[in-house]
Subunit: 319 residues, 2 copies
């Protein structure tokens, strides 16, 4: 089973409007709501790829209840796949889970995001989470853990470093996907993999050239780096070699929201299936591309994934 | 007791952002949520003015639950007033109550509104509402009813006309505050009072001059018209005479959201206290002005109201 950690979960709300005009009143044409936050997005894709997945992190207030209710709904069955239900191991908190509101402008296709600040997590609640996290790691069933997204207020900036250390001590493969100071601190705890995008890698290392920046990140503690580079696909820099994989068919039109989370799910699912690095990268690129072209933000289109998965060309990167 | 009817209730959410820039991501600085929809706004002001008030209409889904929970919270006590709790007589529906999201731009003070479409009400649910409404009217305690706001999907366009007729048959004073075709149809059922703004009055009658338009609206069925004219205050055209009252101190800086709902509460509270028309108009203008200057949208500032209430100058309007 794979564990995904979402310390700052959200209920993602999407509003479609005919045209966004500041300081006017808009009739929302339709609305959609789904559980969000990077780790939960990763979990949904893992489940759709047929992997038993446990979701942990924090949930509280009426929005937290709604998020858990929606999480409990079984993923849609698909003739081509084997979606499995997600296991909810979220830890209750007194504060209220945040919403994000994405306003999609029908005229341009652009999205304007409003992210609520989210709850403050207490020391007691963080301790309760650590208890749950250790139990999941010690269950003997955990094969990998993904630590994803920003930290809520109240948590120490080294929170991810602690979680990386716990996973390593339990012998569970640990992927860290965050940014800024939490990433910098987490790196020192030596995660098995980080999955930054180009901006995050540049902010972390000061180098704009991804391969060089990835090598620096490895020297600072990451055992491997899988960088998502948008239109340029992905680059893996590991102790087994370096590879790169552009998206099949070149530049993709669509919504890149959630593409990085799908890449994390692709990498982890292929890892626990025992696939070698080039196959992990190919799957990550295919599922990520299938997310960009999907009509719903953050969902991946299974037909596109099935079509693309054998068309990704992975080549050795020259160091 | 006063009944307020809100057929299209809402949970009003306010997001404060430092500056609204379309097609970017915004961190929401703080959020506020409160029960909304015009009739519920009216009820809150009535309760703050010390009047026993029953809220009816529809509520459904998680947002409806949250709305009812917040409605049950006692209004804040105030040394100067006698706030009383609201009685919740909302009728449950299968559909989900809508949210409205108002994004306040800290840089300019302007608000951008996103109004969710709201639920579709079934014929059975409308019949259940009519049962509740008739019971409230027949209780012997109802002194007045306010019918406020837009109609949800699924209701006949003549819904307000039916509710006006029921109130008149029960001998309960009925105020109608809506717009468009529901107002036009409602008028024919002869409500005791309508409270249009200048635009609504113009759309109803085709006349831009408010006094003339109000007289036309009376001929079409309204026993009296109290028009809210923004900076120009209010105009009453009734069978007892015509009056006008500008806001004291001239143009008011602030947020006009909810000012019309506060005017409805001012008119009805003064009516059931047995005050004559000029005093009703004075109270409506004072509580409306105290709503414009209040820091929270749709709340009225009691200190401002107490200061202004004896300063409103009501004069006979020349026909």
């Amino acid at each position: 089973m794979i564990i995904t950690v979402t310390l700052n979960a959200a209920l993602d709300v999407t509003y479609r409007v005919s045209s966004l005009r500041p300081h006017t009143t808009h009739r929302v044409l339709d609305t959609a709501e789904r559980p969000g936050g990077k780790g939960i997005n990763v979990a949904r894709v893992l489940a759709a790829l047929g992997h038993r997945t446990v979701v942990t992190g924090f949930a509280g207030g009426p929005v937290g209840e709604e998020l858990r209710r929606r999480l409990a709904e079984a993923p849609r069955a698909s003739p081509a796949g084997r979606p499995v239900p997600l296991t909810d191991a979220l830890v209750p908190i007194a504060g209220a889970t945040r919403r994000t509101v994405g306003v999609v402008d029908d005229a341009t296709g652009d999205t304007t995001m409003f992210n609520e600040p989210g709850p403050t997590v207490s020391t007691t609640e963080w301790a309760a989470f650590l208890g749950t996290y250790r139990e999941l790691l010690a269950s003997g069933e955990a094969t990998a853990v993904a630590l994803c997204g920003s930290l809520p207020r109240g948590l120490p900036v080294g929170a991810y470093a602690d979680l990386v250390r716990e996973a390593r001590a339990a012998g569970v493969y640990v992927l860290l996907d965050t940014s800024g100071e939490p990433l910098r601190r987490g790196l020192a705890a030596r995660p098995d993999l980080i999955k930054p995008n180009a901006d995050e890698l540049m902010a972390l290392t000061g180098y704009s050239e991804p391969a060089r920046a990835a090598r620096v990140a490895r020297r600072r503690g990451a055992r491997a780096v899988a960088a998502s580079l948008g239109d340029r696909g992905m680059l893996a820099v590991t102790d087994e070699g370096d590879w790169q994989a552009p998206p099949p068919g070149g530049r993709l039109a669509g919504n890149p929201a959630g593409a990085g989370d799908s890449a994390v799910a692709g990498l982890l699912s292929a890892l626990v299936e025992g696939l070698p690095w080039p196959d992990r990268l190919a799957r990550a690129v295919a599922v990520s591309a299938a997310t960009v072209v999907a009509p719903a933000a953050g969902e991946y289109d299974r037909a596109t994934y099935e079509k693309l998965r054998n068309r990704v060309e992975v080549t050795a990167a020259t160091p």
